[in-house]
């Protein structure tokens, strides 16, 4: 099992980015394929009636656009401190980026310089809407950080089911299985 992380970190930053954006932070791409099951976010302001989405996104060099790998409705997020979330599963592939959509009333902690990567942004909610063109903001960072793990190196799903949803195969605990149909896990 390999630990996965993506995103620059959810910290109290010197600036903030205004409301109603979909962001892709490309400072720290996912280091392996598997699942994100933990998220940290830090917002400056928030209106606790509007819901947010966290996401993993990929870059398509052929079209110079970002697409959504997976996204998840987390509900509202309280501002003013690092908020942490667990218990969900987001698909992630090596090289994917951490992303977030935050609606009207929210502003996210933001750094305007000092990062080797940056943040791509687009006004409005664009997760799950096909590949999209975003505006690039180099050297920036926003306060998101996701972690997870690679369950099996070679098999993510069996019969369209996430391996993390399966307890046993033919009454054998999944954690003890090293091969499935001749394929090394």
């Amino acid at each position: 099992m390999t630990a996965i992380d993506a995103g620059p970190g959810a910290i109290d930053r010197a600036s903030y980015m205004y409301e109603d954006y979909t962001l892709v932070d490309y400072n720290n791409a996912a280091n392996a394929s598997g699942y994100i099951n933990y998220a940290e976010l830090w917002f400056v302001t928030g209106v606790l009636t509007y819901t947010l989405y966290i996401a993993t996104l990929y870059w398509n060099p052929a079209t110079s656009k970002y697409g959504t790998r997976d996204y998840f409705n987390i509900g509202t997020v309280s501002p003013g401190s690092k908020q942490t979330f667990s218990g969900f599963l987001l698909d992630v592939t090596i090289g994917d980026y951490a992303g977030v959509y935050y609606p009207v009333g929210y502003t996210i902690e933001w750094s305007t310089s000092g990062y080797s990567g940056g943040v791509s942004y687009k006004y409005g909610q664009w997760l799950g809407t096909g590949e999209q063109t975003y505006t690039d903001a180099a050297t920036r960072a926003c306060s998101i950080y996701y972690t997870g793990y690679s369950f099996w190196a070679n098999i993510l799903k069996i019969n369209a089911m996430l391996c993390t949803s399966i307890l046993k195969i033919n009454d054998v605990p999944i954690v003890t299985i090293s091969q499935v149909n001749g394929v090394s896990t």
Binding site: Y38, G75, S78, G87, V104, T147
Partner: protein, 138 residues
């Protein structure tokens, strides 16, 4: 400390009811000050001025949030019993300053749920969004 069902994080997901559990600290709990913070008050319609100009209020934020997925016939007691267990696990990590990446409960998502199942899930979500479910832990 206490845990409550957060209505905004409840919805239908892949044939199951998604339930968000938000966990809060009391004033005497370890690390209370980290999430008892002053936050700017944003108008409902949004705000694009300098947020430092806005009035602030004290807010007790969750120290952690965890999602569970359940069949629509889950009872309030079952939800709160699960919530209490996760609260204990989360606080155990919190007081050791460890990452609160609680494990997911293995569930079987239904990729093509029936209309009746979706209706039952939707009804449960509507119930959770209008019912306060909270469990205090001494």
């Amino acid at each position: 400390m206490y845990v409550k069902v957060e209505p905004s994080g409840c919805c239908v997901r892949k044939g199951l009811v998604q339930i968000r559990l938000s966990m809060y600290l009391d004033i005497n709990d370890y690390g209370y000050a980290k999430h008892h913070v002053q936050v700017p008050v944003i108008p409902e319609e949004g705000y694009k001025g300098d947020v430092s100009d806005l009035p602030k209020v004290w807010h007790n934020n969750p120290f952690h949030n965890h999602f569970i997925f359940a069949e629509p016939d889950i009872t309030d007691k079952e939800i709160l019993d699960i919530a209490e267990e996760y609260l204990k696990k989360a606080f155990s990590l919190w007081e050791k300053d460890q990452q609160l990446s609680l494990e997911c409960t293995p569930v079987i998502f239904d990729p093509s749920p029936s209309a009746a199942k979706l209706f039952a899930c939707d009804e449960k979500v509507q119930y959770l969004r209008t019912t306060e479910l909270i469990r205090l832990l001494a």
